[in-house]
């Protein structure tokens, strides 16, 4: 079932340009960038139980780097830009990571949101990066050794799709690696891992940087997709989008992409119908928060109310293996 879903998603992705018009292809590309934001949030949430409400900081930094790279620094290679964006983002993420990873989950959430909002306030006032007007005149750079033209919407869609799947695959590898195992072990018992001699802080910061890099990649792709960078790319709405995608998608990686694309279509539909679409999005968030997990509570009712400790332990062991 899980494999089938992965294959179906890949096929639907590759086939999308054959049954969608150019505008819809743009929306799917956009949805894929949100999926990357979702993935980066998912990574920290699932492996370390760290809920980030500040990934807009890294998404926005990636977007600004991409915008400045073509409009100011005249870089004309998307791979160079991606590398540069990840470097710049990591430089900004290191102090945030060091501070945030020392906090509990709620402190982590509050402080990541605070840092992202501070960066947004900075971008709003800093004239050098366009201030509140943002960066206009962003053009898509070349693709280096690849013989493709990114200015073509369908080509750009395939490029976005390829990058998304590459990131998906990379994060999947990291989760399965020894490094990912250490992260899960830290989540389960931080004190024990510290006692075993693992440098817990360094692991947490490394995981944070991996996550931030994925968000930065999303930012670069998004900036070149809509050819515009604004302080809105740093807003809490971006971080919230990442979180809600993860919450709806659940633990399965590939559903993240599906949910993100559906959410993008939904947002586009709402924003084209009414100018107060943010309030409607607010209702969506409220509904997800109130209704989410309903199924789990139903299955909990069906289960016998009282279980012996042995049965509970057995079930826990079963879940872990």
């Amino acid at each position: 079932m899980k494999r089938l879903l992965v294959v179906a998603t890949v096929v639907a992705g590759i086939g999308a340009p054959f049954f969608l018009d150019v505008f819809q292809i743009g929306l799917v590309s956009r949805g894929l960038t949100w999926a990357l934001v979702g993935l980066s949030v998912w990574f920290l949430l699932r492996l370390l139980s760290q809920p980030s409400f500040g990934h807009a900081a890294f998404f926005g930094t990636g977007a600004y780097t991409a915008g400045l790279a073509v409009s100011r620094w005249e870089l004309d290679n998307i791979f160079v830009v991606l590398g540069l964006a990840i470097l710049v983002t990591c430089a900004i993420a290191v102090p945030i990571a060091v501070v945030a990873s020392r906090l509990g989950s709620v402190g982590f959430l509050l402080i990541t949101l605070a840092f992202a909002e501070m960066l947004r306030a900075l971008a709003l006032r800093w004239r050098t990066v366009g201030g509140s007007d943002g960066l206009v005149g962003v053009t898509r750079p070349g693709a280096g050794p690849l013989p493709i033209d990114l200015t073509d919407p369908v080509t750009y869609f395939y490029f976005t799709l390829a990058v998304t799947f590459a990131c998906l695959f990379l994060l999947w590898l990291v989760r399965r690696s020894a490094f990912g195992g250490v992260l899960v072990a830290i989540r389960e018992s931080e004190g024990r891992m510290r006692a075993l001699g693992y440098r817990v802080g360094a692991y947490k910061v490394a995981a944070f940087l991996i996550s931030a890099s994925v968000a930065a990649t999303a930012g670069v792709l998004h900036a070149y997709l809509i050819r515009f960078v604004s302080p809105e790319d740093l807003s809490a709405l971006v971080s919230a989008r990442g979180l809600i995608i993860v919450v709806i998608a659940g633990s399965l990686l590939v559903t993240t992409a599906i949910v993100a694309v559906l959410l993008t279509f939904g947002e586009d539909l709402l924003s084209s119908r009414t100018e107060n679409w943010l309030a409607l999005m607010g209702l969506v968030y409220i509904a997800v928060a109130l209704l989410g997990g309903m199924k789990i509570s139903v299955s909990r009712w069906l289960r016998p109310r009282r279980r012996s400790p042995e049965a509970a332990a057995l079930e826990l062991a079963g879940e872990k293996s």
């Binding site: 709620v106 959430l109 402080i111 605070a114 501070m118 004239r127 943010l278 968030y285 109130l290």
Partner: protein, 289 residues
């Protein structure tokens, strides 16, 4: 920066810090007692400030602040009522609390945008504290001193309720160990309701008395909220004493940041956060969790 300038920024920072405490204390109390992360707190502040500015046409200042306080209570209770719909799930799930309150924040902000057309508004300072004082050759607005004094008064009242009344004892006990409090026969529901109402009242009053200085504008729901977060994290979550000290520190960092580096003011705040948390990750006075 001359000596007089430094004194001026100190005064501005302290008065703003005291205002910030009103906002942060409500947030930290609901979190400490009910374990509830309420992101709407900044939006409650903003809507209350807008309500206060509606009295700018010759209305009484006291009336404006009172209306702001009532708005705060109503909105905060609304948030509590919505979360009561599935409290059993929300109580243990911070991620859902965050999504819920973020959704409510978007709704509140959008309603405010429709009602007040998204235009920044201000409230004239009341006649009895208008004008400014001359301190060492620089002028310090009298209203800021008044604002700081009122905020300090409210903070004092909060401290009295918290430390000297039966209700305050119940809240403190709940922050320490909620299960034990319930086991002694105090039901948590009404207590939560009261704390939500108080936190809304504090946010509303902060919006009202802050309006002559900060005005009411879209985007405040985040800009103010973020400062409250910094206070809560620095002070230790659920800790009023820590929140008080942290409020003053954040107020000062904000004032000096804006005076010294007008464009990069946020760097002072980030610097403060990094330095304090590197020194004490659990907050200045430790936290609930």
């Amino acid at each position: 920066m001359s000596f007089a300038q430094i004194v001026l920024q100190l005064a501005i920072g302290l008065s703003f810090g005291l205002l910030l405490f009103l906002l942060a204390s409500g947030f930290t109390l609901t979190f400490g007692l009910a374990g509830f992360v309420n992101l709407t707190h900044g939006a409650v502040f903003m809507v209350s400030a807008y309500v206060a500015t509606s009295f700018s046409g010759g209305g009484s200042f006291v009336l404006a602040v009172a209306a702001a306080g009532v708005t705060g209570i109503v909105l905060s209770i609304l948030v509590y009522a919505v979360s009561r719909l599935r409290w059993s799930k929300l109580a243990s799930d911070e991620l859902s609390q965050v999504l819920l309150t973020f959704g409510l924040l978007l709704v509140f902000a959008e309603v405010a945008r429709v009602l007040w057309e998204g235009v920044p508004r201000s409230l004239p300072e009341p006649g009895f504290v208008s004008g400014s004082w001359d301190v060492l050759g620089v002028s310090f607005p009298t209203y800021r001193a008044f604002m700081g004094a009122v905020a300090l008064l409210i903070a004092g009242a909060l401290w009295w309720v918290q430390e000297r009344t039966r209700f305050g004892a119940m809240v403190r006990a709940g922050v320490d160990d909620r299960d034990m409090l319930e086991a002694t026969g105090v039901s948590a529901g009404p207590l939560f309701l009261a704390v939500f109402a108080i936190s809304g009242l504090l946010a509303g009053l902060a919006g009202g008395i802050g309006a002559p200085v900060m005005g009411a504008s879209m985007g405040q729901e985040f800009s103010v909220l973020v400062l409250a977060f910094v206070v809560v994290v620095l002070g230790g979550t659920g800790n009023l004493k820590g929140a008080f000290i942290a409020s003053l520190a954040v107020g000062l960092a904000d004032a000096f940041g804006k005076a010294l580096l007008p464009t990069f003011a946020e760097f002072t705040m980030m610097g403060l956060v990094v330095v304090v948390l590197a020194w004490r990750p659990q907050g200045i006075f430790g936290g609930v969790r």
